[in-house]
Amino acid sequence: MDTIQQLEQEFSQKLSDLTPETAEMLRIEYLGRKGKITQLLHRIGELPPEERKGYGQSVNALKQKVEAALTEHSSQSGDTRSQKSNIDITLPGVEPEQGSCHPITQTIEEFIRVFQRMGFEIVDGREVETEKYNFTALNIPIDHPARDAFDTFYTEKGHLLRSQTSTVQVRVMENRKPPLRIIAPGRVYRPDEIDASHSSMFHQVEGFMVDEKITFADLKGVLRLFLTEIFGKEVKIRFRPHFFPFTEPSVEVDMMWVRKQITSGGTVQKSQWLEILGAGQIHPNVFKAAGYPKGKYRGFAFGLGVERMAMLRLGINDIRYFYENNLDFLSQF
């Protein structure tokens, strides 16, 4: 059994030829969980009670001495934990693997979050639909020129692929009573000629709010709040009359879009109004189709083109990139 004095002598000898590599070993040998000094401390229970106090003090004094010596040594020679000094710290860090959400769903989720903060509820609608929900209930008569704007795919069974997310309006209203605050994102389909700005499949977010006293002023207020959340406080928008069969009054919302253009004379800022969403007070005929009592409820609805918004915000110039899903595209978002 080592005595306190023996240990102290032994340690001073070892300290004299200490290297950075052996310093840590020495720390473990004396101060580790099973180290020599630790063991001395453990033995305190074997002593008669009157000797314990003096013994404990001496062991602790030694422990402090050893700690001080090792600390001093390491401050002279650098941290004993430090690895080789010739590490090339300019090598790239090993990054965690990170995937990415598609810019379309990123955009949709961002819109959803804003509307959820305003108390809107997300609802999902089906894509293969009947004439009723896509047209008739939305006050779009069969064979009307208004339908040209909603050119449609049909299935063999006489169903159609919804050409707009507004199908959700009557689907929800048939089953539920106001107050309603609904947001419904999803895929829609139109047999458009495919080019840089048209696709036969694209995404919309439909929203509507129905209660007893909703006005056109509420529509303006909610849409401005949404656009401010998305584009910032300085967003400049205007509400312009338009025609949609299922809303009246109908409105299109334009946003002032400022673009920097590089010309031979330098950079010029070009600004123009860009149409970003369609909206309006829900037409009484839509409430009628939903089976609501005449004149009882009022509300507004709006529809957003997701691709268009994503293209504007991300500076994407061809809608086809979205569906090609090239990694070089996806990894940018």
């Binding site: 959400c101 769903t105 692929l161 036969s200 056109f216 070089d328």
Partner: protein, 680 residues
């Protein structure tokens, strides 16, 4: 629609700059896309986008009326001349389809001498994008652009029998239009025929053979009201759109039919020489029924949230051509003009008031909200959760088309019985709604490989569509995951190929996050996949599959590299009971770890050993994890080395080494005998 500013100025005084006029119209709902000078005719053209509810804006008079409502100034409509007509000068008109043509009228102009149109008229046509031809043709175009009523002029001498028959086309009847194209007509088409053959496709286009030319002497001017649907169908059927069909489809003004014919005669008489004007030959009549709407004053404020004085309301409606019949404190009786088919209800009038009053003057307000119940178990919430997790785990989300190619899907060997096929695909290659997520995923992978992106970890959250016996097809939510190529690592870890277990781990983790555990993986045959291929079963239900893309599918998409795919049925997952997260008290006593490495036959499933360890280990065995698998060098070819790490722990005391050793020995004995395993 191109609008000439000079022309508009004939009907209404405008002092504002062309740009301001364009803005004013835009903010009233007639979107002016561009305002440009037409230097060669000293005019300004306003390019208007006209919504389908406003055919009255497809004319200069209609737009002038809008400017009148916006400015409060009156419009000046050209007055018609009164003239004597020769009662003997007429043609016989027979109308065999009153339904498709409620009213047909025409008038003969005899011994007409004409040349070019006057300069002002030519200039206006040029501004509107038309090429002046001769007085007669120009006048019909001019009147169409003036009031919106399409007209047609025939060379009377080229009409066989000098008669007009309005009738359905005969089967396979041929018609040569003035665009020199020959159309084979359908019996649903309405034609204007002479004694022999069709001379016009009603409301769409006139015929080549009776066209007015420089040598024409006697002219027949037609003005009619054709059924919008009939014109629309003919125009669609023959892919033939004209300024005329565009207006008839959207309904012309019933009051404008006679006016336009008389206006054309006036202009021809004024700028040409006309020997004699005949009487009007006509058939049918147009309903003069007037629409009257009761507008409740309080509704205006209820909807627009702004009080608009009755006098202002009356002024707006009157300038738009309405007649306010009576006004009381609470309501107004409003008669709608014949050119506004779109005004049918009070709400339509309120929109008119809002438009002219100005949307920008309506205040903005945030609604007071009443609480409503919100359904919690929303499928979209799961989609969002899955999407976020998979992105965090290094996968890229894709959004491909939901269309498939039927032939391709058949070649892949997928079940095509319940396919939802499209009648009118945009692209013959994408002729059905997809029945599997696999082909879209493969297409994306192939496209990426073409761009030399060989290392891919992708997923899509979408739907597959299956015809159902009951009404609408089933739309099933799926998550499709795919991994192929090298696992993306930094420079420290060795590169390796992604494999079945990378995908399996991702799927298990995802389902665990959804609160689904106790998964069973059953080796099986899955569509489009081959071994290693498993069906994933939870709670007795098949929730999906994981496997290697099979040879057939790989060949269809011309991909060599092994691709692992998993398909999860989100709809099934949604229905399942989910385990809620719950706190377990943190252990007070330390655990003891023991490892066991075994040499086993390759036919033995590791999960069986794991289960056995668990059952022998009992309560004191806290966990068992497989942490190493080795095959190859140093091990017989039919054997595999597997190693498990076991943690032993008691929640009542610190375990003694002896106690653990005994338990470990017991486990070892059972495993070695039961699985004929050797301890390594």
């Amino acid at each position: 629609m191109k609008l000439s500013l000079n022309w508009l100025k004939e009907y209404i005084p405008v002092a504002q700059s062309p740009k301001k006029i364009g803005e004013a119209l835009t903010m009233a709902g007639l979107e002016i896309g561009s305002v440009e000078n037409v230097v060669e005719v000293s005019d300004v053209v306003l390019e208007g986008e006209i919504t389908s509810n406003r055919p009255d804006w497809l004319s200069h008079l209609g737009v002038a009326r809008e400017l009148s409502a916006l400015s409060g100034k009156k419009i000046k409509v050209p007055t018609l001349s009164r003239r004597k007509s020769n009662a003997k000068l007429k043609v016989t008109v027979t109308n065999q389809s009153k339904k498709k043509c409620p009213y047909y009228s025409c008038v003969v102009l005899k011994d007409v001498t004409f040349g070019s149109s006057p300069e002002f008229l030519q200039k206006r046509l040029i501004t509107c994008g038309l090429r002046p031809i001769n007085l007669i043709v120009d006048v019909t175009n001019y009147v169409l652009l003036e009031c919106g009523q399409p007209l047609h002029a025939f060379d009377l001498d080229l009409l066989a029998g000098q008669q007009i028959i309005v009738r359905n086309a005969k089967p396979n009847e041929k018609f040569i239009a003035i665009n020199d194209k020959t159309y084979v007509l359908a019996t649903e088409d309405l034609v204007i025929s002479d004694g022999k053959q069709p001379v016009a496709l009603a409301g769409v286009m006139g015929g080549k053979e009776s066209e007015v030319t420089g040598t024409t002497k006697n002219i027949l001017i037609e003005s009619a009201y054709f059924d919008p649907l009939t014109v629309r169908h003919s125009s669609r059927r023959h892919a033939l759109m004209s300024d005329s069909s565009y207006r008839f489809e959207r309904k012309v003004d019933v009051k404008g039919v006679d006016w336009a014919r008389q206006r054309a005669v006036d202009l021809i008489c004024q700028y040409g020489t006309v020997g004699d004007v005949g009487v009007v030959s006509s058939t049918g009549s147009l309903s003069a029924r007037k629409t009257t709407i009761t507008l409740k004053i309080e509704d205006i404020q209820n909807i627009l949230a702004v009080p608009i004085p009755s006098a202002k309301v009356k002024s707006i409606l009157t300038h738009l051509g309405c007649i306010v019949k009576s006004t009381s404190a609470s309501s107004m009786r409003v008669e709608v003009p014949s050119f506004r088919h779109d005004l049918a209800d009070a709400i339509d009038l309120i929109e008119e008031i809002a438009r002219i009053y100005g949307y920008d003057r309506i205040p903005e307000h945030l609604p007071e909200m009443r609480m409503s119940s919100v359904s919690l178990d929303n499928p979209l919430a799961y989609e969002i959760q899955a999407r976020d997790l998979l992105c965090q785990w290094g996968l890229r989300e894709i959004v491909p088309y939901s269309f498939s190619n039927f032939e391709e899907v058949q070649k892949m060997g997928l079940n095509t019985k319940e396919v939802v096929r499209l009648v009118n695909p945009r692209n013959a290659e994408l002729n059905m709604m997809r029945i599997s997520m696999l082909d879209a995923m493969m297409r994306v992978i192939k496209n990426n490989m073409n761009h030399r992106n060989m290392d891919l970890a992708l997923f899509e959250i979408g739907r597959v569509y299956r015809q159902s016996s009951t009404q609408l097809p089933n739309e099933e939510r799926h998550i499709c995951l795919a991994m192929t190529g090298q696992k993306q690592r930094g420079w420290i870890d060795p590169q390796r190929e992604m494999n079945f277990f990378d995908l399996k781990g991702t799927v298990v983790r995802l389902l665990d996050e959804f609160g689904i555990d106790g998964l069973v993986f059953k080796e099986s045959q899955c569509e489009g996949l081959c071994a290693p291929c498993v069906e994933i079963i939870a709670d007795g239900m098949a929730v999906g599959a994981i496997g290697l893309v099979n040879q057939t599918t790989a060949e269809v998409f011309d991909v060599d590299q092994p691709i692992y795919v998993s398909d999860l049925n989100l709809d099934v997952i949604l229905q399942m009971k989910k385990k809620a997260k719950k706190f377990t008290p943190i252990a007070k006593f330390p655990h003891v770890t023991r490892d066991i490495a075994l040499l086993i036959d390759q036919t033995i499933k590791s999960v069986k050993i794991e289960q056995k360890i668990k059952s022998v280990g009992g309560n004191l065995l806290e966990s068992v994890v497989l942490f190493d698998v080795y095959e190859g060098k140093g091990i017989p070819s039919d054997k595999r080395s597997v190693a498990f790490r076991m943690n032993f722990r008691s929640d009542a005391r610190t375990l003694e080494a002896e106690e653990v050793n005994r338990l470990y020995q017991k486990i070892t004995d059972v495993i070695t005998s039961e699985f004929k395993a050797q301890i390594r």
